[in-house]
């Protein structure tokens, strides 16, 4: 039983923190808010150099063959830095290709992703805003040329910069995952502007989008377990990123409470503030336990991995919202300003709260399991 990180994992975290502190300052995030792509190409190339883009990919394609724990470590650091960019969406797309892709599909995409030459995303949310993979309504119909896809996929992360979109759609065989390139006729991308300007979403409309036979990942109709698996990875990855945002907000609140004086003393000496900070720490530490337990469980294929993923998303989603919100409270007026950086993390936690199933969605899954 060892809940601590290996020295390699610790090293990865340290180098991620050093890199992001240096290269991903709040000023960068702010500068990119008005940028149509919303990410930095130079930073993407450097992340590829550092091996982050191939972290969980097979060595044969230039990857490091590491697992969810390492991915979560990076994502936690990214949350702490309010990193703007398609890292996690690309990880999810790459995972889909690793799991079900043919040799040709892997050759086409994985090495390019690891090298920083391609980005991807997965359109997990379907038209009626339901994350439930079994409820996907987007249709896939066989045509002479392959398949025709019709439906809507709202809130697809970073689709506007993706070179490949993994799109779940339903045919008579069941649920399949299709690889669609953004230039394909019939595909419309329209940006959604959310609170977190560093988190880009796109509404994707598919109107008779025609893709060839070899756009299907695996055999047609067999993708339900994979899509459920991607959603779990999404949930745990989001938990890690929210954890990072929460820890950053806690650090900022504690640092501020030590120096801000009112009534002739630091505000941190008031119990109302000190106790708030203690409660925030409690939720951050529990979030750490929930996130890394789930990440480990996915890697180890533990019997309770599905449960643990839902628990991590439900717990950390609620906790991070509270912690980041309380950090604003501890700061008073300055915490409510556009110029102060707290809202970058507050908004990141908020944006991820609704992704990959919100807390209520996961609590229903949990209830289903424990009452079965």
């Amino acid at each position: 039983m060892d809940f601590s990180f290996t020295s390699d994992q610790q090293l990865l975290r340290n180098s991620a923190r050093a890199f992001l502190d240096e290269r991903c300052k709040p000023a960068l995030a702010r500068a990119l808010w008005d940028d149509p792509r919303g990410e930095s190409e130079a930073m993407w190339k450097d992340m590829a150099q550092l091996g982050w883009l191939g972290l969980a990919l097979p060595e044969a394609f230039g990857g490091a063959d590491l697992g969810m724990v390492e991915t979560a470590l990076l994502l936690e650091e990214m949350g702490r830095a309010a990193y703007p960019g398609p890292y996690f969406s690309t990880v999810l797309a790459a995972t889909a290709i690793v799991e079900l892709g043919s040799e040709a599909q892997k050759r086409r995409w994985l090495a390019a992703i690891a090298a920083g030459a391609a980005r991807g995303t997965v359109a997990l949310l379907d038209g009626a805003m339901d994350w439930t993979p079994a409820a996907v309504a987007t249709k896939a119909e066989r045509t002479a040329a392959g398949w025709s896809l019709t439906g809507t996929k709202p809130f697809v992360p970073w689709a506007h910069v993706a070179d490949v979109l993994a799109v779940p759609a339903r045919s008579s065989e069941g649920l399949s995952l299709f690889l669609v390139e953004p230039s394909t006729p019939g595909l419309t991308l329209s940006p959604v502007t959310g609170m977190d300007l560093s988190m880009r979403w796109t509404n994707v409309t598919l109107d008779g989008v025609t893709v060839p036979d070899d756009a299907v990942l695996g055999a047609p109709g067999q993708a339900l377990p994979l899509v459920e698996g991607l959603l779990r990875i999404g949930a745990v990855g989001a938990a890690a990123e929210m954890l990072g945002a929460a820890r950053r907000c806690l650090d900022m609140a504690v640092a501020y409470a030590k120096v801000r004086e009112q009534f002739g003393q630091p505000i941190g000496s008031f119990q109302a503030i000190r106790h708030k900070c203690a409660e925030m720490l409690l939720e951050v530490e529990n979030s750490h336990a929930a996130t890394y337990y789930a990440a480990w469980a996915l890697d180890a294929e533990a019997a309770d991995a599905e449960m643990a993923a839902s628990i991590a998303k439900a717990y950390v989603g609620d906790a991070a919202r509270r912690v980041c919100g309380e950090a604003i409270q501890v700061h008073g007026g300055i915490g409510f300003t556009w110029e102060y950086d707290l809202h970058l993390y507050f908004k990141r936690a908020k944006a991820l709260e609704v992704m990959y199933g919100d807390a209520d969605w996961h609590r229903e899954l949990i209830a289903r399991r424990v009452t079965a």
Partner: protein, 402 residues
């Protein structure tokens, strides 16, 4: 990171599970004699004093083995050992701070539950601010004379001995004038009056000491070292039990789930009501997070790391969770949650946090205690704020005087 149990741990767990499956009594022992007999049975099998050194009759077990035994007891629904304070706090205090003669005299009898112990710390005017205690112990040549009153003394009525904090010097700063004694409860100068709790039962009591006698040989450590000793021993309570606590919560939880299938509202079983399902999902989420956190603590203990002030986070986390848990359980159970005498139905009896079975109502009432004893939630938050986060200390009226 590897959250698998090692093959040795698994083997130990199997063996422990088999023993408790074969030996756990069918009926909850009621009388002290029955409970002592069960304690002895566990002692003979090597399941008592897991964390104590072998030379004092313990098992020198790893933190993981300690946790496994506690967890398997919870799993089997086995009755607790008796003398919990003796084994959990008094023994370790004597082992760390006691003289050799004290070790010889007391330790084995604590483990065997030949002598039962209580903790004489809190006073009517010294609770969270324990260091302001007033009970005096005066040097009378060959012994100390003790005068004062203690309160909220768990197990005071059945105790043979008490671990006492008393003031031996009122001229120095309040933390410096306190000493630690072993006090016989079986003497004319000690009177114990049971206090009734909100649960209706009387586990704790008031203790009046009037010219009571503490032997010179029963002073632990040096004169004036009592506060320091109490600080170190308060932390023995934490760690090893947290996994078992979660296991007990979980077995009660599955009873709650059974109840949701039998009870109905608006013409359908509660389990089909989305509002109830959210509550179930919420409890299980928090309960599992408590388990993950317990594993994290256990992993640190296994590496020989001492959690220090961070153990306040654990205490705060589970005791506050326990209140939320029982509040939600009450919401789900409705009038059923009110019942204090268990009926023949299978889901009304659960384990309370006192380690004894009771109804959901009693468990709900007990859940109010955990955020008060062993350092209230407010005190824990002060500790976390000051010692973990390094926030400035508050202005305190008594600090100027010290």
């Amino acid at each position: 990171m590897d959250l698998n149990y090692s093959p040795e741990d698994l083997a130990f767990r199997d063996q422990t599970r088999r023993w408790f499956a074969a030996n756990t009594p069918a009926h909850e022992p009621r009388t002290l004699d029955e409970r002592r007999a069960w304690h002895r049975r566990m002692y003979d099998a090597g399941y008592v004093g897991m964390g104590w050194p072998k030379e004092y009759g313990g098992q020198s077990a790893t933190p993981m083995q300690q946790a496994i035994v506690a967890d398997e007891m919870a799993h089997a629904g086995a009755p607790p050992t008796i003398n919990g304070l003796g084994i959990g706090i008094v023994g370790p205090t004597i082992i760390v701070h006691g003289a050799e003669a004290q070790k010889q005299r007391y330790l084995r009898k604590i483990l065997m539950a030949d002598e039962l112990w209580c903790q004489l710390y809190s006073e009517p005017n010294a609770g969270s601010d324990l260091a302001s205690l007033k009970t005096r112990a005066e040097d009378a040549g060959d012994h100390f004379v003790v005068n004062g009153q203690k309160i909220w003394t768990s197990g005071g009525v059945i105790a043979d001995w008490g671990l006492l904090l008393a003031r031996t010097d009122s001229k120095v700063a309040k933390h410096k004038g306190i000493s630690c004694f072993l006090l016989s409860m079986r003497q004319p100068g000690v009177e114990v009056r049971p206090l009734r709790q909100i649960t209706g039962s009387s586990q704790f009591s008031e203790v009046f000491m009037t010219g009571a006698r503490a032997e010179k040989a029963d002073l632990i450590g040096r004169l004036g070292q009592g506060w320091e000793i109490a600080q170190t021993t308060l932390s023995y309570e934490r760690g090893g039990n947290s996994l078992a606590r979660v296991t007990r919560y979980a077995s009660a939880f599955y009873q709650l789930v059974r109840a949701t299938k039998e009870l109905r509202r608006q013409g359908r079983p509660l389990v089909e009501d989305p509002v109830v399902r959210m509550k179930i999902g919420r409890i299980w989420t928090e309960l599992e997070v408590q388990r993950y956190a317990a594993l994290r603590v256990l992993s640190a203990l296994t590496k020989g790391e001492s959690p220090g002030a961070a153990s306040s986070i654990t205490k705060l986390s589970y005791s506050e969770f326990e209140k939320r848990y029982h509040e939600i359980a009450q919401e789900i159970l409705g009038p059923w949650g009110q019942v204090t005498v268990a009926g023949p139905d299978e889901f009304s009896e659960v384990e309370t946090s006192s380690g004894e079975p009771g109804t959901w109502a009693q468990a709900f009432l007990w859940s109010r205690a955990g955020t008060i004893y062993a350092g209230s939630s407010e005190v824990q938050k002060n500790v976390i704020g000051e010692r973990v986060l390094g926030l400035p200390k508050e202005a305190r009226a008594d600090r100027a005087k010290v």
